[in-house]
């Protein structure tokens, strides 16, 4: 639950932002990262940007999230 998700700030008004991660868009706030600017890549956690992040690191984290989701979604039943 503490895994933060990298996303790009695509709209920003005051501390209210809309962020985008691989086409998914949602609302987030930049209250905890007051210097964040439009277009920045940031780590989002529980609806808040908590740090800047670079392109390369963002890609690695997206990859990891895809893997973890895959891990979660594998059926829970013990087969045979």
């Amino acid at each position: 639950m503490c895994l933060a998700i990298p996303a790009r700030i695509v709209e920003l008004e005051g501390d209210r932002a809309v962020v985008d991660a691989m086409g998914n868009r949602w609302k987030a706030k930049t209250t905890l990262l007051p210097d964040a600017k439009l277009g920045d890549l940031v780590l989002i956690h529980a609806g808040f940007a908590i740090s800047l992040v670079d392109e390369e690191e963002a890609k690695k984290t997206w990859q990891l999230i895809a893997e973890i989701n895959d891990f979660r979604d594998t059926p829970n039943k013990v087969s045979g």
């Binding site: 639950m1 987030a28 956690h45 529980a46 609806g47 908590i50 740090s51 891990f71 829970n76």
Partner: protein
């Protein structure tokens, strides 16, 4: 990349040789646990290097009494419970929030802001935000509380189950029978608290602390760095997650936590009472404290299910040592929180075991 892996493996081998006994490294964080299983890291480690999964998942460490209090609040007609999705399946005395969901009093939110909005949209109900998590989620709660105060949203309150990572590590090391040689420290918690925060553990207990990211190479290199320290007889704080973790962390977030909360003694599942390990609202904001509003008792609750999550969380037993593991306790019908949470140690072992058998 292979060169880095080999280097880390050499460091691990050297440390095992040097120490001449098993080495126990605790990964504090549930996301590390999942990534370690997912990427098949365990089988690549030297036999004598053991990984212990720690109290790193906020769902797992939340005390039973907290869950029971929530379930009681969920039964009230005048309350709405706003919770992160992770918490809804944790079983309590009388079912789980999920089974209450039918009563429409339980709403899943993605952030504290959504919970505050829910309060604004439902002025005739009291919205109780299930404020759980470590230093990563605490600032989000603090922002919402401050906004509620500024805007006079008096039907909003929080049940704080927020916990602090470093005091938990201190608590574990203060136990006489612990067997922890070093810590692999959580990545995103450290974004907030900064790697400097682990100095206390290094200085007070002489245990190496290395902050690593969640991808496999980071984890392997982090283990290598820990082993290097152990072999050299050193204990320092190190961060190899330089992409996002700084020494001082996110000071804005720390300041906001400090404005709203103070550290208080509190109960953890498995670890019991730990000094100054939980966050309680300051007096200034006490009117947003569900504990005061509903006069909730904070005594730990007894858990009679036979679940051994407590010992799992302290690294004392591995999940298969629990009699219920895979028998009555599975992710589909979980007895304890470590099986419920997607980052829980028992859930990770369950899935890993299954993959191994294939």
């Amino acid at each position: 990349m292979l060169e880095q892996i080999y280097k880390a493996q050499r460091l691990m081998d050297a440390a095992c040789e040097k120490m001449g006994r098993p080495i126990n490294i605790m990964e504090v964080c549930g996301t590390h646990t999942v990534s370690i299983f997912r990427n098949g890291i365990r089988p690549t480690l030297p036999k004598r290097l053991k990984l212990l999964s720690g109290p790193g998942c906020p769902v797992c460490v939340t005390d039973q009494s907290y869950i029971d209090s929530l379930l009681e609040l969920a039964d009230r007609d005048d309350c709405l419970i706003a919770t992160y999705g992770d918490m809804v399946r944790v079983p309590g005395k009388s079912g789980s929030l999920e089974t209450k969901q039918s009563s429409t009093n339980v709403k899943i939110v993605l952030s504290s802001e959504d919970a505050l909005q829910l309060a604004k949209d439902n002025p005739d109900k009291t919205v109780v935000f299930v404020a759980v998590g470590f230093e990563t989620t605490a600032p989000a709660t603090a922002v919402a509380v401050k906004e509620a105060a500024a805007e006079g949203v008096d039907n909003f309150c929080i049940l704080s189950g927020h916990k602090l990572v470093v005091p938990a590590m201190r608590g574990l090391l203060s136990e006489k029978n612990h067997n922890i040689d070093a810590f692999l420290c959580p990545g995103h918690v450290s974004v907030i608290i900064g790697f400097g925060a682990f100095a206390e553990i290094v200085e007070g207990f002489g245990r190496p602390c290395v902050v690593a990211g969640f991808e496999p190479l980071q984890i392997i290199e982090g283990l290598g760095a820990i082993c290097q320290q152990l072999a050299e007889g050193k204990a320092t704080v190190q961060s190899i997650y330089t992409a996002v973790v700084t020494k001082q962390g996110n000071t804005t977030a720390q300041k906001i936590i400090g404005e709203c909360f103070e550290a208080a003694d509190g109960y953890w599942r498995g670890l019991g009472l730990i000094e100054k390990s939980t966050l309680k609202l300051k007096d200034k904001y006490s009117r947003f404290d569900a504990v005061r509003r509903f006069d909730i008792s904070e005594m730990p609750a007894e858990d009679k299910s036979g679940c051994r999550c407590g010992e799992v969380l302290c690294g004392l037993i591995k999940p298969p040592e629990c009699k219920l593991f895979e028998k009555t306790c599975t992710p589909d019908s979980a007895v304890g929180p470590c099986m419920v949470s997607s980052e829980g140690t028992c859930a990770a072992w369950f899935k890993y075991g299954r993959e191994r058998r294939r």
